[in-house]
Amino acid sequence: MRDASAYWKANIRLVIGCLIVWFVVSFGFGILLAKPLNSIHLGGYKLGFWFAQQGSIYVFVALIFFYANKMNKLDKKYHVEED
């Protein structure tokens, strides 16, 4: 069962990493730090506002695909992929 638990640990590490990014872009940039970030501009957007209404959503999409791709590789590495 050593392989299985190594696979699970690698998965947990990956999930934690992704969730940190998830938290930072939405709760961090979009809510807690929105005010200071608003002094920076991205085109016609204030940056905090952009993260809250646009950016966080784009990052969420990218995160899920990143995770799914990484997991595919982990599945192969630990020989647990489905046929």
Binding site: G30, I64, A68, H79
Partner: protein, 593 residues
């Protein structure tokens, strides 16, 4: 062709399409009925999930909410999308691996307890049923407003359509119709947004238009202009935060956890062939959702700007600066007839004054001879529906928006009804009360449960209980405080046992219900509320709708503490947990031997 005939044609054509799909996709086994035979391609499942998830509220109400709340409405944008990250990483792949039909079934098996399964069924039915009432109402409203059919007949037409494809096709029929409905609703949502973005900024992509320079020669950025115009009229700045940060934080968290815990969404990930498909499918679902959710802020901001500019035609304070009521555009008149837009000429000057509550501005307004904001009602739901008319778009766009709104309501209603029917026939009948029925009898039972659910939902849609508007908080609160933690602990913490899980669910559920009822009234009977429902009385300023995250925290804590003090789960349950964590066991076993 006049608008009404055109709308009939467009809506009729979409209905013909849904029925055609229904006839092509009959379900003949319970697996097809509950999970579409687990044969849906991940991209198609993503599209179906998006339609399932985006309700009449997302389609009709959200942009209006953003238009009037500005930055503060970000909680809905982040909350209703961020949940998919949790779903993709914490729930969907493992529940797909587990490979059965319903959410309560997993909870019942993992915590080896019929009690836990029944608690889960109750949460599922309450959350889904309250949610479905809103959809039924949405269908009725769309019919009555666009086709001028009365509310009840519109509702019955919608019920018949859902009945045909959901009862015949089960999850299989629902999935393929949802794919078609997604295409209709996203087209209907983006076309007017593109036109309006072009008109205001010259940029055809609304997401970029919102961050662009205005087309009016002022050289100002659209959002700066909007802030400016609103502040000048005594409203608060659009891009500024108004509510408390703690409440925004908790509401976003509650909506995210609630989204991930809603059973009708989770079940969609049971329909794909493999674990790996479940992960990607969540990504695709969010892509299809994001197309609408990133367009909505542009629709909201542009609609608000158009509305203010329509009324405030000249300099603020000059006698000719405001639109004459007699010259109001035709959409204004049309929405006045529905009662969703109301004007009252408080200073009897025959012109419309629309301004905010800022105290400094009130002094100025008095000097102008204004006697209060005369737009006494601007219902936020009209923003999306009236948008094409405000922007003078052709009639076929308006007809399309009607079909899109109906598609959004129908697809969500069907998904919810299916979740209810499955848990009645599979969890209650087959799982608890009549374990000996065969596959064919169970399929019949689920069809009957489905028909029954449609009738109940239709009845409640027609006679909505007084609390219909409040129930969204309840649905998300229940999903966040009871289902999500139970599912997540079931997968990630092997040590959590039956007693721990049940006490956790009851603790989360109990605290959340009590908190909501404390301010909204017991069972939403207003007169029984213990405290007034406003920020000054909320505990630490936490609104009842934001409490789900706290309830979830109680659930997690109680489940972990109680489990650690009671007996470890039996061997076969621990093996079940190990098994769902790995997509395919064969490789590991081979490596071990």
């Amino acid at each position: 062709m006049d608008l009404k005939t055109l709308t009939f044609l467009v809506v009729g054509a979409t209905f013909a399409l849904y029925i055609f799909i229904a006839l092509k996709t009959r379900a003949s086994t319970t697996s097809e009925f509950y999970v579409a035979g687990k044969g849906i391609h991940p991209i198609l499942n993503g599209m179906a999930t998006a339609a399932d998830w985006m309700s009449a509220a997302s389609f009709i109400s959200m942009a209006g909410l953003i238009a009037f709340k500005g930055f503060d409405a970000s909680v809905y944008l982040m909350g209703w999308t961020g949940g998919y990250v949790l779903l993709a990483m914490l729930l969907a792949p493992y529940l797909r691996k587990y490979g059965k039909f319903t959410v309560p079934e997993f909870i019942g098996d993992r915590f080896y307890s019929k009690g836990a399964r029944i608690v889960a069924v109750i949460c599922l039915i309450v959350a889904s049923l309250t949610y479905v009432i809103g959809q039924m109402k949405g269908i009725g409203v769309a019919f009555s407003r666009f086709l001028e059919i009365d509310f009840a007949h519109g509702l019955i037409a919608g019920m018949v359509i859902v009945f045909i494809y959901a009862v015949l096709g089960g999850m299989k029929g629902v999935t393929y119709t949802q794919i078609a409905q997604y295409c209709v609703l996203i087209f209907a949502y983006t076309v007017p947004a593109v036109f309006i973005s072009l008109q205001l900024t010259g940029n055809p992509i609304p997401q970029l238009g919102l961050g662009s320079t205005m087309n009016d020669g002022s050289g100002m950025m659209l959002l700066d202009k909007l802030d400016h115009v609103l502040v000048d009229l005594g409203f608060s700045a659009y891009t500024m935060q108004k509510g408390s940060t703690l409440n925004m934080f908790l509401l976003t968290m509650s909506l995210m956890i609630g989204t991930a815990g809603l059973p009708h969404v989770i079940t969609r990930f049971f329909t794909v062939p493999k674990v790996k498909d479940a992960r990607f499918s969540a990504g695709w679902a969010l892509v299809f959702i994001a197309i609408l959710y990133t367009t909505a802020p542009a629709v909201g901001a542009m609609a608000r700007l158009n509305l203010v500019n329509t009324i405030q035609t000249g300099p603020i304070g000059s006698p000719q600066g405001n639109l004459k009521y007699a010259n109001r555009p035709s959409w204004f008149e049309k929405w006045e007839e529905t009662g969703l837009l109301k004007f009252k000429d408080k200073n009897h000057d025959g012109r419309i004054q629309y301004y905010g509550k800022n105290k400094a501005f009130a002094v100025k307004a008095k000097a102008f001879g204004w006697k209060g904001n005369e737009m006494v009602k601007v219902d936020r739901d009209i923003m999306v529906l009236a948008n094409p008319e405000i922007a003078n778009l052709p009639n076929w766009v308006i007809a399309l928006v009607a079909a899109g709104g109906i598609a959004a309501a129908l697809s969500t209603a069907a998904g919810l009804l299916l979740a209810i029917a499955s848990s009645i026939s599979h969890d209650l009948l087959k799982g608890v009360f009549m374990p000996n029925i065969n596959d064919k009898q169970e399929l019949m039972a689920s069809r009957i449960a489905m028909s029954f659910a449609i009738v109940v939902a239709g009845y409640l849609g027609m006679n909505p209980p007084g609390f219909a508007a409040q129930v969204v908080a309840l649905a998300f609160g229940l999903a966040a405080s009871s289902l999500f933690p139970a599912l997540m602990l079931g997968i990630f913490v092997k040590r959590v046992n039956n007693i721990g899980a049940i006490s956790g669910m009851l603790a989360g559920l109990g605290t959340t219900l009590v908190y909501i009822f404390w301010f909204k009234g017991w069972l939403f009977i207003k007169s029984t509320a213990m405290l007034p429902d406003d920020a000054a009385h909320w505990l630490f300023g936490i609104s009842p709708g934001s409490f789900g995250a706290i309830g979830a925290l109680f659930n997690f804590t109680v489940a972990l503490v109680v489990s650690s003090m009671t007996k470890e789960p039996p061997e076969h349950i621990q093996r079940l947990v190990e098994d769902i964590r790995i997509p395919a066991i064969s490789g590991v076993v081979a490596a071990e031997n």
